[in-house]
Symmetry: C2
Subunit: 334 residues, 2 copies
């Protein structure tokens, strides 16, 4: 098995089988308010209700359950903006593996605390001065541990692909015209593209990135992986990869319909909408695809859209900022 | 059809058929943190994700879809602490009926606004000085409209019973030892008891009431319907019926295993738990059954429990109070 090769349709089926008894089959919800607002049929895939509160559980479990334990008696090390690390920590505990998680100092405190509670060793780093890849590589050089990247791995991408594979099965006959996906390093977007391809659907897949961190949008335009100017400074802490990951981008570049962006203010509005109309707790990076729909509801008018809600691990302070928004300018309240 | 007779197993099946294409089959979620905390298997039935954000949609639709329109050309009138009114307003719009909703002045503003937005006429009253039943009866005396009570109706109770009927089907072989249900007038508790009885399960059904509004607990003890001392003064606005409703109590008195209470502080903790560990937005009266579990986790140790989460229409101010709680004394954070 080459971990850097593009997952096949069979890999996605294998991942679904591996996850069948351990992952939550997360609900596909609709909202009367959202359908009224857009004039379309919008389905929300609620991966914030996944174990560990994010879709990352899927890739982590699919990857770690296939780990060659004889080759890596020291377990695994992962670098992560938070949710991937949390998923690796929990899955490692489930499977009886040791885990070390390299996390940025400015990750939400709740994510750091939970990874630690799951029994992982935590190594913190400065997002602006250190390279997480280098720290993980150093750890792997000193001991027989496998580095589990957030996107650059066939089994990770196959795991993330199950979000959309499962959604398409739940949605049945009403194949979505468009699928909107939060995008950081691009693993979830890539998995989405492959899941669509695997069933021969013709849905357009749109990546949604934070304003100022539109590396995938610019990379699609130039054809080569572009780097973000900054490494921090967005509410969407889960989506702040420095540039598109290599394997995901090799998938996304020819398959994505395009990339959209949403600002911090857009994302807070979307968190509030999800609170008010969907009764869901979502995190900024997790709800950014809904933010893109709310920014331009006409995009889905008369269409069926699948919006992937990828995570719900949000600091209370950020959630309170969404609750403090004035309702009137939100545009959906009657 | 006698609207004051106890629903049969057939009535519950009829309700499931009526709701099949219109209600959300709400997810039954689990939480790793909750199972660890209790040492049991806890399933949460998420009716906060139901249309209108509460289970009340079920009874409202089941009842209004069977309305004799020739007898009631003026449509329907309902009195409600909020969620029932909202459900009646929305269902009336779906079915092309006129609706008037009698709501207390101190109901959450969001509930009043949404009922109005759904096209209902709103009549506000003072919970401490006026009788909502009398106001509704006066309206019905002046025009050919049907009064739709929140609990005292066979079709309403049969609709609410579908929450548990559906849960038992979703849960499969693992029949719960205990089912914990938020209790105001008692319609949901009654429906739960009947749904359990209909499938011959032996689950204990426990009603959970707000501290100081334990009319069902005292009524079970005395054998006759007891009145609450106050009519307001709990965060659980959805559960402030003045006394158990007649038809529900006739069902509950011989079928409930008992009634538990939870304080405002307990309920805020449960809202925070649901935010943190389940990524769900819940309202005080909607999450009170989880509060009872968190108060006494040993109650479900080694057992399977079904906790009904009945609603998620919460004022932002109340939610912020839950977010402001210190994590440490909550007891579940590692």
């Amino acid at each position: 098995m080459n971990p850097f090769s593009i997952p096949t349709a069979e890999d996605i089926l294998d991942a679904r089988r591996a996850l069948a008894d351990v992952a939550v089959e997360t609900p596909l919800l609709r909202s009367d308010a959202l359908d009224r607002l857009t004039g379309g049929s919008v389905f929300l895939k609620c991966e914030n209700l996944q174990r560990t509160g994010a879709f990352k559980f899927r890739g982590a479990y699919n990857c770690l359950s296939r780990l060659d334990r004889a080759a890596y008696p020291g377990g695994v090390v992962a670098y992560s903006t938070g949710n991937h690390g949390q998923a690796i920590a929990m899955v490692a505990r489930m499977l009886g593996l040791s885990a070390t998680i390299v996390m940025p100092q400015d990750a939400p405190a709740v994510k750091i605390a939970k990874a630690r509670a799951a029994g992982a060793q935590i190594v913190l780093y400065d997002r602006n001065r250190q390279s997480r890849e280098e720290i993980a590589a150093e750890i792997a050089a000193r001991a027989p541990v496998a580095v589990i990247p957030p996107g650059d791995h066939r089994h990770i991408i196959a795991g993330q692909a199950t979000v959309t594979a499962e959604s398409l099965q739940q949605i049945g006959a009403q194949v979505p015209h468009a699928i909107l996906v939060p995008c950081g390093g691009g693993g979830l977007s890539a998995g989405t593209c492959l899941a669509v391809e695997a069933v021969g659907a013709r849905s357009e897949v749109w990546a949604v990135e934070p304003e100022g961190f539109d590396d995938t949008r610019r990379s699609l335009a130039s054809g080569t992986r572009e780097v973000n100017a900054a490494l921090s400074g967005s509410l969407c802490d889960a989506l702040l990869a420095p540039l598109p990951a290599e394997l995901p981008f090799s998938i996304n570049r020819s398959r994505l319909a395009g990339a959209l962006t949403a600002s911090d203010a857009d994302v807070l509005r979307a968190i509030r909408f999800a609170y008010e109309e969907l009764r869901l707790v979502t995190e900024p990076g997790g709800i950014i695809a809904l933010a893109a729909v709310l920014n331009d509801p006409a995009r889905v008018r008369g269409k069926t859209a699948l919006v992937i809600v990828s995570g719900g691990n949000v600091d209370p302070g950020v959630f309170k900022a969404a609750l403090d928004l004035d309702l009137a300018p939100l545009g959906w309240a009657a």
